[in-house]
Symmetry: C2
Subunit: 316 residues, 2 copies
């Protein structure tokens, strides 16, 4: 039995043929070109599915279902992409459209929910009853698994942990509130601190030179951290501490069996960040809640959403 | 079919005979006298159970089970009261002891979890799939219902929402952290504000006179609020706002179908507090999460734990 997992991003679309054991048989990438009509992007996904199935040496009739990880909020009935800011989509009836084009069962889900489902089905979370997945990138995305199943909440919007307020008078967040977790714990916080430094210190220093030489801020940050540049190390370590404080809250409230960490910054700097995160969680979580609870860095990496999308298709 | 619900508190023990429809047939109260050995308190519960059954015109054989709401943390296997600060208990094997004395199935659970289960079984939460119960008193206690069942978490410690940090550099909390929700949103916060006022303004003013005349601080607070004393109104309204901010976090993270509010201060001043709470939740919760979600004041009042304890016994 084979399934298709789609990771639909603002820039790239990944499609994978996944076996029922969670093995990625074949993987393919196409560009999203997000400014075209959504129907064209849908057609692109259909084509990409056909191509990846063919190049895996399979036929469409071998595919039992397709799962789509979408960068946004999905309607409660999981029929429509309610809002996807990166794609500039609103109320797109994507499930029905794709199904009409390919005639294989299609399911939609939020991408970070699927990353968490991927960890639960095929990663460190196998057999774990309650799991929180936390994906740290520009912001913080998350998913909740309870009794082996996604908890999407009454309106389908659950697990927006990045917008948990932890500092009521803190920095302004894109959501309109102040002091959301992601304003202190994600790339947003690290970039703010480094930008402030460059602004203040001018161009004639190692940090400014590094960040003007390397166009990719994320890569410059990794380089700067590994070079031991003070402001970069401080910014990342402080972010690790704030990740830990938020996870402490999650431990206190949910007391899950496992917290799985992933996302760009964790995949790049996890070996330095996770020890600080773990220490902070222990300090902040309510007494008795952390005993035996595993805080892990998921090994699924950038395949997490694709694998979760396949798992969703498999659940049927 | 009848069940016994016990609400074991630091001062009083309530025992009720409850029908399978959630009707309290008969209720009885005895004092805890918490400084005696725990076995004596156990025996008191057994006696009280026998008496309340008798005065309901029933026999012990009519009782299918007993649920006990305990003011503390219960071991993961729900056999032992792991720690109950108010009773000064640690590792008390209470379930086994009670069962050996009365020979009717006994189940233990944290009292606030049971308050929430009570709302779910016999109150506003009937038929609601996901429910968060929030009980505001000196601190904030809470319970989580998902798919009709209590979510107690991996170590049985879940739902300690009172210790969710919402103000990282805020007031010191009894748990050791700073800025826990209950330091800003419960009686702790209201009392702090009023105490500071009295400290600063001395004895010759209406507030100080009210609070020295009335020994019971809680009652003085209600009186002061209804009299419109500025500092009391401000303290309570600010507390309502902070309750709303915390509920906003809960909405953003869990997106439950219902949030039920209870506890002393809500039972006393709910009509003034709940409008402020609702307005604040709407402002802080992530877009789309509050649609159709009910925020209610539970009508179960001080019977909530007893009814939840009976529901626990009924679940078997």
């Amino acid at each position: 039995m084979y399934y298709i997992g789609i990771d639909l991003g603002g820039t790239k679309i990944f499609a994978g043929v996944v076996s029922s054991e969670g093995k990625v048989i074949k993987k393919m990438m196409v560009l999203t070109h997000r400014h075209r009509p959504w129907e064209e992007i849908g057609d692109e996904i259909v084509n990409c599915t056909k191509n990846v199935v063919k190049s895996a040496g399979l036929k469409l009739s071998d595919i039992k279902g397709i799962g789509i990880g979408c960068p946004g909020a999905i309607s409660r009935d999981r029929e429509t992409i309610f809002i996807a800011p990166n794609l500039h989509w609103k109320n797109v009836p994507f499930r029905k459209y794709l199904y009409s084009k390919i005639n294989i069962p299609v399911r939609l889900e939020n991408d970070v929910n699927l990353g968490t489902l991927g960890v639960s089905y095929f990663g460190e979370g196998k057999g774990v009853s309650s799991l929180i997945g936390i994906f740290v990138g520009t912001g913080i995305g998350a998913g909740i698994i309870i009794n082996g199943d996604l908890h999407i909440g009454y309106n389908g919007t659950a697990a927006e942990f990045g917008h948990m307020v932890i500092d009521i008078d803190g920095y302004k967040c894109g959501c309109g509130n102040r002091g959301c977790w992601e304003t202190l714990a994600s790339r947003i916080a690290i970039n703010r601190k480094i930008d402030e430094y460059i602004e203040k210190e001018g161009k004639n220093n190692e940090v400014s030179r590094l960040f003007s030489r390397m166009k990719n801020k994320g890569k410059a940050m990794i380089e700067g951290y590994k070079m031991g540049l003070d402001v970069v190390v401080e910014a990342v370590d402080e972010s690790s501490k704030f990740i830990g404080i938020g996870l402490g809250n999650i431990m206190t409230m949910f007391n899950p069996e496992m917290i799985a960490l992933g996302g760009g910054i964790i995949d790049d700097l996890g070996e330095f960040m996770i020890p600080i995160i773990k220490k902070t969680v222990k300090k902040y979580a309510i007494t008795g809640s952390t005993k035996g609870v595993k805080v892990v860095h998921t090994s699924l990496g950038s395949d997490a959403i694709m694998l979760g999308a396949a798992a969703l298709a498999m659940k049927g």
